[in-house]
Amino acid sequence: MTALLEVIGLSGGYEPVQIFKDVNLTVGAGECVGFFGPNGHGKTTLMKTLSGIIDPWAGRIVFEEQDLAAPGERKARRSRNLNYDILVRRRMDPKKVARAGLIHVAQGSTLFPDMTVAEILSIAPGVALAAGRKPEPDAVFSLFPRLKERLQSKSRFLSGGERQMLSMACGLLAVPKLMILDEPTLGLSPKLRQELADAVHAIRRAGTPIILIDQDIEFLRGLVDHLNVFDHGSISRRLTNAQIPDHETLMAELFGRRQG
């Protein structure tokens, strides 16, 4: 079986601060891979690098046997008197990544505050159509019926949950071959959390491979084939679904057991 996504020795961050180093990751066809780890340890930065928003410093990102990042190491900034940005080409193009079918649904994205839901949904399938994939708006609306009622609202008037639904709907309209969901249930009420979790389950059942970041270990346990524990900028442990411990144990292992 060939891997859908293969990440080899990936390092990156926001210059001059390195956020993660030497990350190796494989996502097979039809797999769902989870990420769990403390806040501020680089999960989101890693995902932004996978989708080409920020340039990787070193390493390879191979998606369906296509290299998404330019080969070789990022050159060090030698002189601060030169405009580094025009001397060195960008190593990744987010448009190319999205065209290839690696779709990133960002964490808590505000999307486009002054555009209506209908307008945003009208431009979302563009990348899929350009790449010759066929979006299915009806399936998306049946997954998020609430969006249909809010078509004429500007996205800044949406609630946090509705905005997250809109983000995921946009991601689905781009017809992902692999979907990155970055904390889809962050900061939502329990009822909405459940609604979105159901939607993620439905996407999973439809057969779309997912990279899922979340803080809810039970939610992850119900979905993922593998769980990567990510802390201090690298994957510290790889667990199969059966090996996933409960929340308390994992927390204790990550942060040390509470005394007394």
Binding site: D85, P94, F112, A174
Partner: protein
């Protein structure tokens, strides 16, 4: 102030407002989308005027007004794209892009103005408009050429509004303006949209130049005043919606007309700038603005 004088001044202000909305629209478009202030906007207006003069005027190629306007708009679009590629794009990933592009666009403007001086010389010229005579509606009276300008500008802005609201490309441009990162994740071609936005702004500036070159005498240095006015309009109105500079343009046009009548031509810029400062103090995001910037 008699009623007829009042109406005459008001009409003058409205006509100015139409012109200013065309001038400010491009500036606001670049400010909201690329997040930079284009100080070469005035130079674009001048260049547009000279290209139109060269194509259309009987003393030059003599191809008529309509052809000259169309050629100017297309040429200015191309020039705008090239300008963006050379002077804005290299600094796109710099954190201090706003300051850097103030300097580069000012430098670009200086180069353009001097090129115009070399090519066409400093002597004043004027574009000949096709219409003649007056149009009147009750007490409102404008020249036919002003009527032509109002018509063309209204059509242009209406088309542009339709383009931004209804077409996929226009919606993509607004999307990039409102959230660059989300647009990238959606797979939109951000560099292309930036170039198109800058080109569009330059084309609008060129069209404004055609009208300014016909209403006033044109010299290579005439771009400063339109740039100032466009600046006042954009700051006064804010850029919350792409219609806010249009409202502000009419406000500025009418205020300018009445202040010219009341305190004279020399004090009018002072009146406008005092007003702009007052607005900045009271409502920094502009009269029709909101705190965040977006189209």
């Amino acid at each position: 102030m008699e009623l007829s004088a009042f109406i005459a001044v008001l009409t003058g202000g409205l006509v100015l407002g139409v012109l200013y909305s065309l001038m400010a629209f491009g500036l606001a478009l670049v400010w909201t989308t690329l997040g930079i202030f284009n100080f070469a906007h005035g130079a674009f207006i001048v260049l547009g005027a000279y290209i139109a003069w060269q194509i259309g005027n009987p003393d030059a190629f003599g191809l008529g007004f309509l052809v000259s306007a169309v050629v100017t708009v297309i040429a200015m679009f191309v020039i705008g794209v090239i300008f963006q590629f050379l002077l804005v794009k290299p600094f796109e990933r710099k954190p201090n892009i706003v300051l850097l592009t103030v300097i580069t666009t000012l430098a670009g403007a200086t180069v353009l103005i001097n090129l115009i001086n070399v090519m066409w010389g400093p002597r004043s010229k004027q574009i000949v408009l096709p219409a003649s005579g007056d149009l009147s509606l009750g007490l409102f009276r404008i020249t036919a050429n002003e009527g032509l300008m109002v018509l063309i500008v209204t059509l242009t802005l209406a088309t542009l509004g339709w383009f931004l609201l209804k077409t996929p490309l226009g919606r993509s441009m607004r999307a990039v303006a409102q959230n660059r990162e989300a647009a990238q994740l959606m797979g939109l071609n951000v560099p292309l949209l930036y170039a198109a936005t800058f080109g569009l702004a330059a084309a609008l500036a060129g069209l404004a130049g055609v009208f300014i070159g016909s209403i006033r005498f044109m010299t290579p240095n005439m771009g400063d005043d339109p740039l100032q006015k466009a600046l006042v309009v954009v700051i006064l109105g804010g850029v919350a919606r792409f219609t806010s500079p249009i409202y502000a343009a009419f406000l500025v046009g009418i205020i300018e007309a009445f202040s010219t009548y009341a305190v004279g031509l020399y004090w009018t810029p002072a009146v406008l700038f005092v007003l702009m400062i007052a607005v900045l103090v009271v409502k920094p995001e502009g009269l029709f603005g909101r705190r965040e910037r977006s189209v």
